[in-house]
C-alpha cells in the first residue's frame, strides 16, 4: 500500500497498532478462559476444584485465603465450609473470616448459621503446591484488610459462596469483579458436577450392593427361581432351579427361545406344562402352586415340582409394561413320597378293616332277620302294642343302629380306599341309568335311622330325575354330605335334601341348621384330611375325607360342588350332575 501523505500513514499505523493491542488482549483473555475452563473440566473431585479455583484466582489477585461455603441438604440445614489458605493463617484471622462468611451468608438469605456453627463445619484444605512461593507467613495479622464474597450460582440457583480474604486493604479490584464472578460460575458448575458425580457414585454403589445382596439371596434360596422375558424365554435361573431342571439336558437359560418353542422342539413332556404356566402368567394371571411332574416316566415317585408364577411389570404400581414372568419352583417330591406311603398305609388298613366289617355287617343282618321272623310269629298271638314291648323289638332297634353305624363305618372305609384311587387317578365310574330321587330317598332313609334326634326332609322339586351316572358313587356323595350335615347340626335340628332340575343337569342341595363355616375355610373345605379348626368344631369327630371324596366323584361325573354358609346359622352344600355324562367325562373305551 502506498500512503499518499504522512498523516494518512500515521493514522493507518495507529489503527493497526490499536487493533493489534486489542487482538493481543483478546488472545490473552481467551487463553486465560481456556486454561481456566480446562482446569475446572478436569477436576473430578472437590479438592481438584479447590486447586483449580485457587490456581486461577492467584493469577488475578494476591490473597491470604479463599473459602468455599456450600449449602448441604436443606432438610438438615447443613453446610460445608472449605478453607483454602495461601499460607498459614493466625487463629484470630481465621475467626474473623468465618464471622464475615456467616454475615454474608445471611445477606444472601442462606439458612441461618452462626460463626460458631460454621467453625465446627470448617475443613482446612491447604495444597502445598499452591502455597504462594516465597511468601512469609504473616505473623500477628489478625484483622481482615479486604474481602470479597461471590455467590456460587448454577442455573440461577445459589449453591454456595466463594470468599476471598486478604490482610491488606484494597486487595480486590472492582475491574476484576466481573471476571471473579465468572470464575465463581465455573467453580460452581464444577462443584455441582462433583456433587452430582458423588451422588451418582453413591447411588451406583447402593444399587450394586443391592444387586449383589439380591444375587446372594437368590443364589442361596432353596426354592428354584426362574425369570423369563416378555416372550417367555428364560433369562435367568438361580442355582436351585438349574439343579432341579438339570436332568432335562436342555440349554434353558439365555437361549432367547420362548419356552413354548423349546417345548415344541423337545420331547420333554413337562416342558409344555411349564410353558403353559409361563404363558398364563404372561397373560396377566397369577398361577399358584401348580404341580408339575418333571421326573422320568415309570419312577415310583417322580420328581414333582410345585410352581407359582406371576407377571413381572416394569412398575408394580401402575402395571404398565410387562417385562416377563417370575416363577418359583419348589421340589415337592418328598411330600409326594410321604403321601404315597400314607396312601399305601391307608389302603392296607382299609382293606384290613373291611374284612371284619363285612363279617359284622353279615352277622348283624342275620340276627335282624331272625328277630324279625320271631316277631312276625309273635304278632299272630299278641296285640301290636304288646309286640313293641317285647325284648326282641328292643333288640331289633339296637341291631338297626348297629347296622346303620356299620354302614357309616363302611362308607368311611370306602372313602379311605377311594382316597388312594382319587389320588392316583384310579377312580373308575360304573355308569347306569336310574332315578336320582330314589337314591336320595334311600340315602335319607339310611341317614334317618342313625340320626333319630334329627329330622331329615327330602324335597323333590323336579318332575323327572332320570340320570346316567354311577349309582353307588352318587349315593356315596349324598351319604358323605348328609353325614357332615348331621354331625355338625345340634340335635333336634332339621336337615333338608332338595333336588332341582337345572337345564341339562340336576342340582342337589343339603341344607343344615348347624354351626356353619367361616368364608376363610371355603377354599380348603374340600381338601383331603382338612378339618375346620376352631373352638366350635373341635368337639366333632371325623377325618376330613368325606367332602374330598364327594368332590372327586362329582367332578369325575362332570359336575360341580360348592357351599354357601354363615357361621352360626348353618350351611348349604350344593352339587350338580349332568343328566347324561359329558363326552369328556366318559372313560376311554
Amino acid at each position: 500500500m502506498q500512503p499518499e501523505s504522512k498523516a494518512t500513514a500515521s493514522a493507518y499505523r495507529s489503527l493497526i497498532g490499536q487493533n493489534g493491542d486489542r487482538l493481543t488482549a483478546l488472545r490473552q483473555q481467551m487463553q486465560f478462559l481456556n486454561t481456566m475452563g480446562k482446569r475446572f473440566v478436569a477436576a473430578i473431585d472437590r479438592f481438584q476444584v479447590h486447586h483449580a479455583l485457587l490456581a486461577t484466582l492467584q493469577e488475578l489477585y494476591r490473597f491470604s485465603a479463599c473459602t468455599i461455603l456450600l449449602k448441604g441438604d436443606p432438610a438438615e440445614l447443613a453446610f460445608e465450609l472449605s478453607i483454602i489458605p495461601s499460607y498459614p493463617l493466625s487463629e484470630p484471622f481465621l475467626q474473623a473470616m468465618i464471622e464475615r462468611i456467616a454475615r454474608a451468608a445471611d445477606a444472601i438469605d442462606f439458612p441461618r448459621v452462626t460463626a460458631e456453627e460454621l467453625a465446627l463445619m470448617a475443613y482446612l484444605d491447604a495444597p502445598d503446591e499452591l502455597a504462594l512461593p516465597g511468601t512469609p507467613a504473616p505473623t500477628g495479622v489478625t484483622a481482615i484488610g479486604d474481602f470479597l464474597n461471590i455467590p456460587l450460582t448454577v442455573e440461577n440457583r445459589i449453591i454456595g459462596m466463594l470468599s476471598l480474604f486478604d490482610e491488606q486493604e484494597g486487595a480486590f479490584d472492582a475491574d476484576l469483579l466481573q471476571l471473579t464472578t465468572m470464575i465463581a460460575d465455573y467453580a460452581a458448575v464444577a462443584l455441582e458436577n462433583v456433587r452430582l458425580r458423588e451422588r451418582q457414585m453413591a447411588l451406583w454403589s447402593s444399587a450394586e450392593f443391592e444387586r449383589q445382596r439380591l444375587s446372594l439371596i437368590l443364589g442361596s434360596m432353596a426354592e428354584g427361581l426362574l425369570i423369563t422375558n416378555e416372550k417367555g424365554a428364560i433369562t435367568s435361573l438361580n442355582g436351585s432351579a438349574q439343579h432341579l431342571l438339570a436332568h432335562t439336558q436342555i440349554q434353558l437359560e439365555e437361549t432367547f427361545t420362548p419356552l413354548r418353542q423349546l417345548a415344541a422342539s423337545n420331547n420333554v413332556p413337562w416342558l409344555a406344562d411349564l410353558a403353559t404356566i409361563v404363558d398364563q402368567a404372561l397373560a396377566g394371571d397369577i398361577v399358584m402352586n401348580r404341580e408339575l411332574i418333571a421326573g422320568a416316566e415309570g419312577e415310583v415317585v417322580p420328581l414333582t415340582l410345585s410352581i407359582s408364577a406371576a407377571p413381572l411389570y416394569e412398575s408394580s404400581q401402575t402395571q404398565t409394561r410387562l417385562l416377563g414372568v417370575v416363577a418359583v419352583l419348589n421340589d415337592i417330591t418328598s411330600h409326594k413320597q410321604i403321601e404315597k406311603l400314607k396312601d399305601e398305609f391307608v389302603s392296607i388298613v382299609s382293606h384290613e378293616l373291611r374284612t371284619p366289617l363285612t363279617a359284622i355287617k353279615g352277622y348283624t343282618q342275620h340276627l335282624m332277620r331272625r328277630i324279625e321272623r320271631r316277631l312276625r310269629g309273635a304278632s299272630q298271638a299278641l296285640p301290636a302294642n304288646a309286640i313293641a314291648d317285647l325284648p326282641e323289638s328292643y333288640d331289633l332297634r339296637s341291631l338297626n343302629i348297629v347296622q346303620s353305624q356299620t354302614d357309616h363305618l363302611e362308607r368311611l372305609v370306602n372313602d379311605l380306599l377311594d382316597l388312594s384311587r382319587v389320588q392316583w387317578g384310579e377312580l373308575h365310574l360304573q355308569y347306569s341309568s336310574f332315578y336320582l330321587a330314589d337314591v336320595l330317598a334311600e340315602c335319607v332313609r339310611q341317614a334317618q335311622i342313625s340320626a333319630e334326634e334329627h329330622t331329615i326332609y327330602l324335597d323333590i322339586a323336579s318332575q323327572d330325575s332320570k340320570i346316567v351316572a354311577d349309582k353307588l358313587r352318587v349315593g356315596q356323595i349324598v351319604g358323605n354330605i348328609l353325614d357332615n350335615a348331621i354331625k355338625f347340626s345340634p340335635q333336634g335340628k332339621q336337615v333338608t335334601v332338595k333336588l332341582q332340575e337345572q337345564g341339562n343337569e340336576y342340582q342337589v342341595s343339603v341344607n343344615d341348621e348347624g354351626i356353619g363355616v367361616s368364608p376363610e375355610f371355603f377354599d380348603h373345605i374340600f381338601e383331603r384330611f382338612y378339618r375346620v379348626r376352631n373352638a366350635t368344631s373341635r368337639q366333632y369327630s371325623g377325618i376330613g375325607m368325606g367332602l374330598y371324596v364327594a368332590k372327586a366323584i362329582v367332578e369325575a361325573h362332570g359336575g360341580r360342588i360348592w357351599l354357601s354358609s354363615h357361621q352360626g346359622t348353618g350351611s348349604t352344600f350344593y352339587f350338580t350332575l349332568p343328566r347324561v355324562p359329558r363326552t369328556s367325562t366318559l372313560p376311554a373305551p
Binding site: 464475615r100 445477606a107 438469605d109 455467590p151 472492582a174 469483579l177
Partner: protein, 127 residues
C-alpha cells in the same frame, strides 16, 4: 427518604408513588449489581433484606417470596393498602438500606458507595 403526602395528594396515590420510587431504586441496584454478581444474587439480596426488615415492617413480608419485579400497582393495593404512608416510606427505606448492607457484606466498598450515591440522587429527584 421521601416526604409525607403533600397538599391535594390522596393517600393511595402517595402510596403508589412511594412504592414506585423505591421499586425504581431497587431496579437501579439490580441494573448495577447484576452484571457483577448475576441475577440470582440480586434477587436473594432483596429477599434477604425483606426477611430482615419484615420483623419491624411486617407489611413487607410478601417480598420475601415474591420477586420485586412482580410488584405491580394491583399488588401494592392488595398488600400495602392499609399501611400508613409514613410507615410505608420508612419500611421501604429500611429495605433499601438493608439491600446496601447486604451488598456491602458481599463486596465491601467495591460497588456500594457510588451506587448508594446514585440511588440517593434518584430518590431526591422524585416528585
Amino acid at each position: 427518604m421521601l416526604m409525607s403526602p403533600g397538599f391535594g395528594q390522596s393517600s393511595s396515590a402517595y402510596q403508589e408513588k412511594v412504592t414506585e420510587a423505591y421499586l425504581q431504586a431497587i431496579r437501579t441496584i439490580d441494573d448495577r449489581v447484576t452484571p457483577f454478581l448475576g441475577k440470582a444474587t440480586t434477587r436473594v439480596l432483596i429477599q434477604g433484606a425483606a426477611r430482615r426488615v419484615s420483623e419491624t415492617y411486617p407489611f413487607l413480608h410478601f417480598l420475601e417470596k415474591m420477586p420485586y419485579t412482580e410488584v405491580v400497582p394491583s399488588v401494592v393495593r392488595e398488600q400495602l393498602g392499609g399501611v400508613i404512608p409514613q410507615q410505608l416510606a420508612a419500611g421501604l427505606d429500611a429495605l433499601l438500606q438493608e439491600c446496601f448492607a447486604g451488598l456491602k457484606e458481599l463486596t465491601g466498598d467495591l460497588i456500594v458507595p457510588p451506587l448508594h450515591e446514585e440511588v440517593r440522587r434518584q430518590l431526591e429527584q422524585m416528585p
